[in-house]
Subunit: 143 residues, 2 copies
């Protein structure tokens, strides 16, 4: 059995995979999070073929992650900005970055107000911070 969509899967991880689609999509979201808005900016930054970028942008708009808006400079072209739903992908991008991060990581999550770095951590209901090794996945339904 070969699956082409995870949309009906009961597991939220699989549903997220279905919406975000593939790794190009997550890199587009990363670039949108650091302020890129124009087709050409995404293309240059990612080094992605135009037809792939066109397809992924269309899909991200269709799934409500990005929206098309008029150019900020009043030009005739359209630009892409993250929806609220799209901005909520920030922890996914940061988790991937923390996993692979070496010294001098070029992408850092910071407090909007202070500009100081923040970390993505696990926190218990009583406010303790847990090491990822002290966390396990409990699966009510393995999905």
């Amino acid at each position: 059995m070969k699956r082409t969509s995870f949309a009906a899967d009961t597991c939220p991880v699989a549903r997220a995979v279905d919406v975000v689609g593939d790794w190009w999509s997550i890199l587009i979201v990363r670039d949108a999070l650091i302020g890129r808005r124009r087709f050409g900016e995404f293309q240059t930054g990612l080094g992605v073929a135009k037809n792939i970028l066109t397809d992924r942008l269309r899909k991200l708009v269709a799934t409500g992650v990005l929206e098309q808006v008029p150019a900020a400079d009043g030009g005739a072209h359209m630009e892409y900005t993250l929806t609220d739903r799209g901005r909520e992908l920030l922890p996914v991008v940061v988790a991937l970055g923390q996993w692979a991060a070496a010294a001098g990581t070029p992408i850092t999550p910071v407090d909007r107000k202070s500009g100081k770095p923040v970390r993505l951590v696990f926190r218990s209901a009583d406010g303790r911070t847990l090491d990822p090794r002290d966390v396990r996945l409990a699966a009510a339904d393995a999905g």
Copy 2:
């Protein structure tokens, strides 16, 4: 310009994407995190074609995310377990799950000791918890 590998990319998100490879890989990691170990368990759980599963398992072993170990029951077959590096992907899986989660999410991160649910949150150096909306990505080098 069409890219086939992000390995040399300076951005850790892109490097993570290169190692984990594709969404099947992250779903395999999810299943390994909830305790699946055997080829047949992954295949049944994911509904993935054998050739794709074989390829992804091989790649995850080659990149140090999974390792092959003798069967826990003493049988002749090999099983797959997460390496330390692989287990560190837990925040990525949880971030994807939190993004798509509805009520009654079947996969919940819990404290290994207490079994109580924990959350993935942003935390500042002084210990405050930040809403994702109060966090932005600062890119020293947009990569």
